[in-house]
Structures are given as C-alpha cells and as structure tokens.
C-alpha cells in the first residue's frame, strides 16, 4: 500500500503565508496565537479598524478591565481550572468505573449541558468514535442527546443496551422540560429491568440545592456532581458537566484544565495589547457598533465543527440582550454563524465576499494535524490535476485557508485567525477559556449582563401552559385568547 502518511516535499513554501515572526514563537511553546492583522485598516482598507480607534477606547477598556476584576468573585466559572482538584479525582473514579463496566454513556441534557461536552468530545476523539471497535476505543460509546425528537429517542434506544449503559442527566435548575422528560423515560425503562435499584446507572449533575434532579438523586441513590453557583450553563464546560463525559471517553481532563488555566492567566493581563481576549473583544465590539451584526466562526479543522456550536451559544445568549445594565433598551447582540473550512467555501464564500458587508469572520487553524495524508500523483499526464500530486492534504487545506483569508482581504472584509499548534486537550482548554473571557469582557464593554437569559422565559412559560403545568393557568388563558390564524395566509 502506498504510504498515505509519507511527508511530501511541498512545492511551494507555505510558511511565508503564516508570517514567520509568530511561527517561531509558536514553535517554542504550545500556546495559541491570535492573528488580528486582517481586522485592521492598514491590511484591509477603509472598512478595517484603525489603531487609534482602539486607543480612543482606552477609558472604556480600563473601566471594563477593572469591572472584570471587581466582579471576578461572581464569575465562579473562572475558578474552575484552579479549584477542582478534589472534583477531578471523583470524576476520574466515576469515569474509570464507567469505562470498565458500561458499553455506552448517554448524556441527557440540552444547551449549555450538551454543547460543551459535544465540542470537546468531537475535538479530541477520532471521527466516527462510536463506529470504532471497542478494543481500540477503550471506553464506552458516547451519546450526547440534546433533543427530544421522538425519532431520535427511539433511535437511541435501538442503538444501546440499557442494561449496559450509564446515563448522565444534566440540568442546573433540574426544571428543564426536555432533560426531565428524557430522564423520566430512561428511569422508567431502567426500573423495569432493575427493580432492585437503578442508582448505579444514573449519574446526575445539578445545582447545589433543591430542584427535581436532587430529589431524584436522593430517592434513587444516584451519584451527584454539583454545578457551582456562578457557573451558568454556557460557562459550565470545565465543571463536572463537561469533565465527566470527557474522562469517560479517555480524554485527559487535567490537560484540559491546565490549558484553560494558562489561558486564563494570559487573559487576566490589564493591557489590551497583551491580552488576546480583551483585544479580540474590543475589535469585535467596535465592529458590532459599526453595524456588523454577524460573527462567522469557520474552523479549518473538521474536529472543531462542534466547537463553533459551543461558541454560538456562548456569544448569542450572553450578548443578545434587550436591556443594558442601566435598564436602557439596546437590543444588543451579534448573530453567530457556524461555518466549516474548506467545506463551506463551496457554500458560503460567495456570499461572504460579494454579499452584504455585514460580517466578521474568525478562522481557526491547526498548525499540525493528527494525521498526515499525502496526495499521490495518480495521473501525471493530466495537467489539470497533476499539480496536486506530491502535496499533502495539510498543504491543500492550509492553502485554502490562506486563500479564503486573502479573498476576504481583497474584498476589504475583516477576518481574524486563531492558530492552534495542534488540536489537543491543552489547546482546547485554552480555546474554551479564551472565548469565555472574551465574551464576559465584551459584556462589560457593552454594559450588559452577559450571564442571564431573560428572553427565554416567554417560550418556557407557554410550553408549561400548553402541557398543563400547575400555576400556568393564566398563560394558558392568554394563549387561548390569541388572534386566530388567517386561512388566506396559509398555502
């Protein structure tokens, strides 16, 4: 068999497109590098941001940086990389038992309880993890069930043997209808197979006190992990919410936390020119204020596809707010769009370069991939394709990433790039901490509360009313009194 892993001599030296200065720096350590060049006016022209616009914000930036310090006590999620020595031991012990005893691990959760676990799992485990034979996998198959579509629930129950499955029910409030419905279905099934008790087959993560999940845990004798106060759903990946599923799949959770701790320290620096999360937030907020209401995240790494989903919740739910902290109506926010390089070059790039100039694009690149695939020159005499032969897929994907950045730059449109030395537990930990601090800092710059979500109550209450939850009779009357749909608008 020809060696797909053989390293090819690259015909063209791609290094120069990366910029030698910082490449060298990256070789010395495993820290992420953030390239903001294509956000700036001198690189992309008049639509770009001038350095003096950042200087002009010095007071606001200083105020926001001080506010980050003052509020640090409220932001318990920032302590997670440092504070969980004991929790990690417990998590590892539950995970070790799961890896020995169970064939499948099913997380029941939605939103912040699922997007982080999914992002980390897909980043750090091989593609098609559940299809790999058990011996190579070394642990149970992992299912992250973040929807209540009955077809999907049935497909899950078809795919697993519940006698050999560990369930992990995650909801901070314990009141999430979707998760509670899933949990009741699963518990009822387990009870019928194990009338002697199901406590060892369900692990729970929920808030410290009260709530339906604590009541269930007590009754069934389930192991429970606490989601601490000050750690909201979308900021909970580095708590037991995300660490247990990671550990069950064999991911090094200490490396994840170490990476996060290093980035958290980097992002505690008050000088905006030394703090990538602050500079990133300042540029993004400046662009928001200039009317760019769309933030595209486009990793050129298949394994980071779902990282963009995690980011999409973090950015959307934290900054999408009707009112600022002073109660003024501001309709703040920026819509995250998930894209994947190079795939979406063939789907979205036409719009990004020629459509409305309303976006900021963030590329995520990997300096090295965890596999090396060489393109053989299978048809040396077909000149339309023979130039590809001799390169590696890494050459090709890097060339495409630079080309997309270049095409946007030529169109005068902003982009930035986050470079990972490689996708690893350490670099993913860094990436998570970076975006959490960036989001919180953007909230401070915008003077909004980045940690609540008042806008979802209306929909929750309407669901409760329709399904007959006691106490929602008034909402039900409101729904019944709605203006009827007009038949002429139904085709």
């Amino acid at each position: 068999m020809y060696a797909i892993e053989k390293d090819a001599h690259a015909w063209y030296n791609l290094e120069k497109y990366r910029g030698k200065v910082w490449l060298k720096a990256m070789e010395e350590q495993k820290d992420l590098r953030f390239c903001f060049n294509h956000m700036m006016r001198e690189m992309i022209g008049p639509q770009g941001i001038a350095e003096r616009e950042i200087e002009a914000m010095a007071d606001e930036i200083g105020r926001a940086a001080r506010s980050m310090d003052v509020r640090r006590g409220e932001m318990a999620w920032r302590d997670l990389p440092y504070s969980q020595g004991e929790a990690v031991k417990e998590i590892q012990s539950v995970a070790d038992r799961a890896r020995e005893r169970f064939d499948a691990f099913v997380l029941l959760g939605i939103g912040g309880s699922a997007l982080g676990p999914l992002a980390v799992h897909t980043a750090l485990e091989p593609a098609r993890y559940n299809e790999i034979e058990a011996s190579r996998r070394g642990g149970p198959r992992v299912y992250i069930e973040d929807n209540i579509d009955p077809e999907r629930m049935k497909a899950l129950l078809d795919a697993i043997d519940i006698r050999r499955t560990l369930f992990y029910a995650v909801s901070k409030s314990g009141a999430t209808s979707e998760t509670m419905a899933q949990t009741m279905i699963v518990i009822q099934l387990l009870r019928e197979v194990f009338p002697e008790g199901i406590g060892e087959r369900v692990v729970i993560a929920t808030g410290a006190e009260k709530g339906n999940l604590n009541a269930i845990a007590k009754r069934e004798g389930c192991k429970t992990f606490v989601i601490p106060e000050g750690v909201g759903g979308r900021f909970s990946e580095l708590s037991p919410v995300g660490l247990l599923p990671a550990a069950v799949a064999g991911i090094d959770v200490r490396a994840l936390l170490n990476g996060a701790a290093r980035m958290d320290a980097r992002c505690s620096e008050p000088d905006v020119w030394k703090n990538p999360a602050y500079l990133g937030a300042v540029l993004q907020v400046l662009y928001m204020k200039k009317g760019r209401n769309i933030s595209v995240m486009m990793p050129y790494v298949d394994a980071l596809k779902y990282f963009a989903d995690w980011y999409a919740q973090l950015w959307a739910e934290s900054l999408g707010k009707r009112c600022d902290r002073d109660g003024r109506t501001v309709f703040c926010g920026q819509t995250p769009v998930k894209a994947l390089g190079v795939t979406d070059q063939h789907s979205q790039l036409q719009l990004y370069t020629e459509g409305p100039d309303d976006k900021v694009v963030t590329f995520i690149g990997a300096e090295e991939y965890r596999a090396n695939v060489y393109i053989p020159n299978a048809y040396p005499d077909i000149t339309g394709i023979s130039f590809l032969g001799g390169h590696t897929l890494k050459d090709l994907i890097h060339a495409e990433q630079f080309s997309t950045e270049y095409a946007l730059c030529k169109a005068g449109r902003p982009s930035q790039t986050v470079w990972l030395p490689e996708v690893s537990a350490d670099s993913i930990g860094q990436l998570i901490a970076y975006y959490e601090v960036q989001t919180a800092f953007a909230g401070e710059l915008l003077n909004i509360d980045a940690f609540d979500q008042p806008g979802v109550e209306e929909g929750k209450d309407a669901t409760y009313a329709m399904l007959g939850k006691p106490g929602y009779e008034e909402k039900k009357a409101e729904l019944d009194a709605r203006r009827p749909r007009q038949p002429r608008y139904i085709l």
Copy 2:
C-alpha cells in the same frame, strides 16, 4: 418493558395551535402546507408586512413570474423531476449492484455535490445509520466526504475496507481541487489492491464533456452519470448527484421525484396567492429590503438538521451577489443561519427574541413523527415534573415549536412555518423543489443571476497559485507581493 410507543391522551388539545382550517386540508392529501401568518402585520404588529405592500409589488411580481417562464429553458434543474425515466433505471441498477456487493459507499464531493445527498440521507434514513447492523440496514454504510481535513480522510480509511467499498466521485467541472485530491488518493489505493483494474469500484458524476473526471472515467473504465447543462451544483440534488446515493441507501427515488414534480407544478402558478414559492420569495425579499439580513432555518425535526445546510448553500450562493444583471453594484444577499428546534432554543432563542431585530425565522414542523415515544409519569409526587407524564415527546416538541413562534410573535418578530405531513421521500422531494423555485424567483425579483458564483474565483486562483498549478504564476507573484503581517497585531 413499558410501551414507549403507547399513544397518550394529551391533556391539552394542541390542535388549536395549529389552526383547524388548514389541518383539515392537510389530512386530505400529503401536500406541504406553508403558514405565512406570522410574517404579516396583522399578526405581529408594525414590523410585519402589510398585505398592501405585496399588492404594491404586483408589477414586479408579474415581471418576475414572466421571466421565470421565459427562462425556464435555461433552468434545466426544473425538468429533473420529469425527464429522468431512463436515468432512474440506470441509477437503480447501479444501486442494486452496490447494495449486493459492497459494504460501504463513499461519496467524494463538496458543496452542491455533497449537501443534497447528505440532507436526503439524514432525512430519510434512521439516525446512526452506519451503526445499525448490516441486515437491518439492507445496504452499505454511506459516507459523504465533503472535506479534505487529513484527520477525517485517515478516519475514513480506518473505517472502511476499500476492497468492499464503492466510491462515487462527483464534480461537475472535474476541476474541484478537493474532490480531485480525494479521488487521486482513493484511486492510488485501489490500484495497489486491484492491479487488474478498478473501473467497477469507482462511479463518476460530472459534466457531459471534457474535464478531468471524464478523462479518468475513460482511462479506468468507470460508469459515468452526466450532470446536465443548466443544472448547477446547488440545484443538482434531483440529478444523479443525489439520486444514486439515495438509491444505494434504499430510498425510493421515484417518490422523491414525484413529490418534487407535484411541488414544481404548484409553484408554476402565476398568481402569487396560490404559489407558495412565489409568496415565500416575495415576503423574504420584502424583509431583505427592510434590512433583515439574516434568514434562520429552524427545523423541529432532528432528521432535517442537514436540510438546513443544503438550504444555506442554495440561499447564500444564489443571492449573495455583488452586481445585479444590469451591472450595478448591489451587494445583494441574506445570510442563512442553521438552527435546530428544540435544541437551539437553549442556545439562540435569547438572541432571537431580545437581540437585534434583524432576522426572518423559518420553522419546519412535522405533523407526525416516524416514532411515538410516551413520557411516563415516573415521579407522580414531584409536581415540578409530573405534568410532563402522560404526554408524548411529540406533544412536547410541538408545544415547544408553538411556544417559540409565540415568543417571537410577542416580541413583534416575523416567522413562517413549513409543515410536512411527515418526513418521507415524497415530502422531502416537495421541500427541495419548493426552495429551488423560491430561490430562483427571489433572484428574478432582485434582478440578479441566481445561478453563477463569480466570488469564489479569487480564492480558487490563490489556492492554485500556492500549490503551483501551471498558468497561475502571475497570481503567485501577486501573493508574494502582499503586505507582510504586522507582529504587533499577533498575540
């Protein structure tokens, strides 16, 4: 085991939220229903569209409708549901052979060559199709490989046995670097295992004449399907591009085409009030002109998650244009955002209801699901969750869909709903035809060419230059002369 499929007595009659008038109509046939009520001013208030705004566009609508007729000859994709009797027989025969002889079917393609096949496969096959045992599946595992990440390529080669795999290389031009690189890798591997010839292990779909894939097909003796003139990548799902992968997985491609044909006929009606694609396009274009630059597609059906990806390419690449047909700079377009109900209620709804009022949301609902899962009342004495017991997951997902629509409506924000009687080959065929006609008609209303993609050339050329394709020396010199990155913007 308790009967998860038992139909529960719904405590609350959800039917009234659907609107009785059109429910009745839907019972009589299997046609899709389009509810535009929440696009209109009388339902959502001043941000909505008034009927007279549509009436005021009568001339433009008439002109666009006539243009659709005049240009019908150029839009060969509209003929696909009617014209492929012979092709379907051939496709079915290749598919039957694949189902007997191969364990895996791998599509190599990107953009329009992959998004349609992926959308149809995930809509019509069970979740986790590749994990199901072969006997229940009845055909080969299916892989749709639309990226060149080396990690993913290696994971594919680890997962399949190439001796028992049929490859399907799809590129209309035959010049797509990504697909050609994948194809060369695969062909080189096959050659080493089958020195006697690989023609039976690779099927090709490409344009009628010339191109690298035709050269390869001739040399290797591969079966080739033609992607007809006038059928661009993003409009090619109902051509052999999409039909072969569907048939290989056992999907009824005739039912898919029949659904499309019925919808195409419905969408040929010149009266905008009788043509859902025209009315949908008019409303969307009106909202675009009022500054709504984001179009969210949010199916409340897990299986339609990737349908939103297909739509995202269609809408983005067709309408995202710098110039109109008269050469005026217009920066036309609207950014598609993919969301999934109910999952993204816990991620994006906060932004949608409280953030900038810049979106049109399209829900896709399923009247019936292909599985029925009952929620048992596992804890009758825990009142915070016992109200869920006795409902089905369908009740819950429908209640959430209506609640989200209601929350948007209360915030004065527009939405529309496409109702499928059920996800089936027929309804998916309808859905594809609906969006294709809607997109083409929007192009006519906006006076832009919805069928080209001039904006992707810059990036393609830069990639060619970096990888040393002959003829791109000038572009290479241009790249070499770029302004260097500034180290102070790299953190």
